[in-house]
Assembly symmetry: C2
Homo-oligomer: 115 residues x 2
Amino acid sequence: MGRTPPHPEVPQFDLQRILEALVDPVRRSIVTQLEAAGEDIKCGDFDMQVSKSTATHHFKVLREAGLIRQYYVGTSRMNALRRAEMDEAFPGLLDALTTPQARGVGLAVSTRSTL
Amino acid sequence: MGRTPPHPEVPQFDLQRILEALVDPVRRSIVTQLEAAGEDIKCGDFDMQVSKSTATHHFKVLREAGLIRQYYVGTSRMNALRRAEMDEAFPGLLDALTTPQARGVGLAVSTRSTL
DNA sequence: ATCGAAGTTTGACAGCCATCGTACTTTTGC
DNA sequence: GCAAAAGTACGATGGCTGTCAAACTTCGAT
């Protein structure tokens, strides 16, 4: 498969895009799980209730916003939270969203299209 | 007109709702302007390029998320940023969004429906 | 070589919501 | 009272995007 997908660098980080990525509960849950785990996680090892194709879509959005870095290990794709770089670009943002209060809610299903 | 519109209290604050409010550039701009001004601002005195009815909609979303408090003064509606209460519910969130980096971009037109 | 596991791509679909114009309500000022 | 000012309410509209299924691609193991 395609080697490593494109990742933006810190100077390219865009708040609007980052917020659009973080506003989705499924995606925020991915970030929260990475933060809690403290280590990289394979796409398939996340706890989420969407189809594989939808999951792929969410990972792509997070990656293009700069929130995660993806790389292959065999057939598995690993996901790493770009903590330090995010903190450099927007200090306090991830902290505010991984707070106890913040984790309290919103880990459920996505808001749009329950279908 | 209707006296004072409904406002949620701190315990009712919901991160999902708050993020949905803050993800829109027009609304984030309203918050930024309030933060910068340091004082309450009339609906009509904000710098924004949307129709009056659209503006009303945005103020309503911000109010229902708990980000602003609205009250009448004559025919004008005043808007106050609920800074302290937001900080209490989600410490660091507003700070992260009113940072220099954060203010750098996204003060333009809304992303959806340029129409 | 073959098969299975893990993701990706593509296309279709549905719902949300930002936007606007018009009509309406309230309050102030004359 | 009347008119203007300031918002609100109500549809209507259109685009964005989250969702899925199905077909495809890669890599690893047998």
